[in-house]
C-alpha cells in the first residue's frame, strides 16, 4: 500500500466516495459533492469559452490585430452577441430575438444537410446489398438478415393500414428485430456503466491507495 501524497488525488477520492454514498441513501455529503460539481463546471465552462473561443476568435482579431487584418464581418457576431444580453433588460429584450433567430436558422440547416448527406443517402445506399454472394454463405445470410430486418421494421412503423395478414406477420417479425436491438443496446449500456465503475475503482485503488500491483 502506497498512499498518494497528491492533495488533488485526495480531494478526488473524497468526492468519488461522497457521490458513491448515494448508493446507500441520499445524504448531505452527496448533496455537497453534487452542488460543488455543478458550480465548478459552470465556472469552468464560462472561463474556458472566453479563453478558447471568444478571445482568440473575436476579441483578439477585433481589438489587437484589426490594424493588419480588417475583418469587418466580425462586428456582426459581436453585435449579435451583445444583443443576446438584452434579455436582462425588460424594455429591450426584443433585441435578443434577432440572434436567437439567427441561431435557430443556422443550426437546423446545418443539421438537416448533415443528416441528409451522412445518414439518409449513405444509409439507404448501405442497405442495397447483394442477396446472393457466391461462395460466401456467411455474407449472404448477413445480407438477408439486414435487408429483412430493415423491411420488417419499416413495416412495423407503417400505420396507414391495419396490421393484419401478411402485413401483420411482417410487422411481428419487425418487433423481434427491434427487441433484439433493444437487448443489444441494453447489454452495451450495462458494459458502459460497469466500465465507469471500474474506472473509479481503479482510481481509488491505484492513484489514491496505491494497492494495485498488476
Amino acid at each position: 500500500m502506497h498512499l498518494s501524497s497528491d492533495i488533488g488525488v485526495w480531494i478526488g477520492a473524497f468526492l468519488t466516495l461522497g457521490i458513491f454514498s448515494f448508493l446507500y441513501k441520499d445524504n448531505p455529503v452527496y448533496k455537497f459533492c453534487e452542488h460543488l460539481f455543478v458550480g465548478i463546471s459552470a465556472g469552468y465552462y464560462v472561463v474556458l469559452t472566453m479563453i478558447s473561443s471568444v478571445y482568440p476568435n473575436m476579441i483578439q482579431p477585433l481589438f489587437t490585430n484589426f490594424t493588419h487584418d480588417r475583418n469587418y464581418f466580425l462586428l456582426i457576431p459581436l453585435a449579435l452577441g451583445i444583443m443576446l444580453f438584452s434579455r436582462f433588460f425588460p424594455r429591450g429584450d426584443w433585441l435578443s430575438r434577432w440572434p436567437i433567430a439567427f441561431i435557430l436558422g443556422v443550426y437546423p440547416a446545418l443539421r438537416i444537410t448533415g443528416f441528409a448527406q451522412g445518414d439518409l443517402v449513405e444509409q439507404v445506399h448501405g442497405t442495397m446489398l447483394p442477396l446472393w454472394v457466391p461462395g460466401d454463405a456467411g455474407t449472404t445470410i448477413n445480407n438477408w438478415l439486414l435487408v429483412g430486418g430493415l423491411l420488417t421494421t419499416l413495416i412495423f412503423f407503417f400505420f396507414s393500414k391495419e396490421h393484419k395478414g401478411a402485413l401483420g406477420g411482417s410487422a411481428r417479425v419487425g418487433i423481434y428485430f427491434l427487441m433484439i436491438s433493444f437487448g443489444a443496446s441494453y447489454g452495451y449500456t450495462v458494459m458502459a456503466r460497469v466500465s465507469l465503475l471500474i474506472g473509479r475503482v481503479m482510481f481509488l485503488l491505484d492513484d489514491w491507495l496505491g494497492l494495485l500491483r498488476f
Binding site: 451522412g118 445518414d119 452495451y188 450495462v190 458494459m191 474506472g199
Partner: protein, 277 residues
Amino acid sequence: MRDFLAGLRALDRRWIFLAVGLLVIAPLLFGFHLAPVVPSHRAKGFYDAIERLPEGSTVLVAADYDPGTRAENYPMHLAAARQLMRRNIKIIGVELYPAGVPIGDDVLRTMGAELGKKLGVDYVNLGYKVGNELVMSSMGTSIPKTFPVDSRGVPVSKIPVMRGIENFQQIDMIVSISAGYPGTKEWVQQVVSRFHVPMIAGVTAVSAPEYYPYLQAGQLQGLLGGMAGAAEYEALVGKPALATRGMDAQSLAHVFIAFMIILGNIAFLGQRKPAKG
C-alpha cells in the same frame, strides 16, 4: 421456493450494489485472468486503417469526451496516440467537449514523452472551441481560422506541424474518440460525407450500437465500442494497459448482472398466477 422468490422480490437493491462493487474490486486487487482478449473485426478495422497510412501523414484526433467517460475513452485514446506516433504520423488534436482539453493534452504529452515526439513538431493540441457542428463545418473552410491558437495559446502560424494545413484536404484521416454529442455521429454527418475524409471511431459502449450502421455502410473503417473495444485494440497495438486490466472485473460483473436478470425474471414469473375461474 415460494418464500425464496418472495425474498428475491423484496431484496434490498443495496445488496446488489455491494455485490457488483466486490466483483469489480476483487479481480483488480488479485489480478486473476479469466479469458484472453480476442480482437474483433471492428477493432482490426480500426488498427488496420492506421497501419495503412503512410509515414508522415497527418491525422486529426478529435477527443470529444470528458472525465465522465474517461474510463472507457481514455484507454482507446492513449492506444491510438501510441500507434499513430509509433508510425511517425503527425497528430492534430481537437476537443469539442470543454473538459476534454486537459485529457487531450495529457494523452499527447504522455505518448510524446514515451516515444520521443516533440510538441508542435510531431503533434499539437488545438484545444476546445464552442459551436459543435459549426466548428466542424468551419474547419472545412479553414482550420487555422477556426483555431487561431492551440490549447497553450500559441498562434498556429508558429507551430511547425500546422504548416500547410488549411482544411480537411490536408487531413489524411480522422480518429474520433467520442462520448456522445457532439462526436462521431456529427463528424460523419458534417465531415466524412461532405469532405470524404476517411474516419475511424472509438466510442462509449452505451453509444456504440448507434454507430454500427456507419461501419456497415463503410462510413467508418473501424469501431471500438467501450472498454471491451479498447482492450481488443490494446491487444492489437501490443501494449495491454488500462482497458485490459479492467476486463476481468467487467466479465465478472456482467455474469453477475445476467444471473440477476434471470433470477429477477423467475421471481417475477412466480408472482404472476393465472386467475382461477
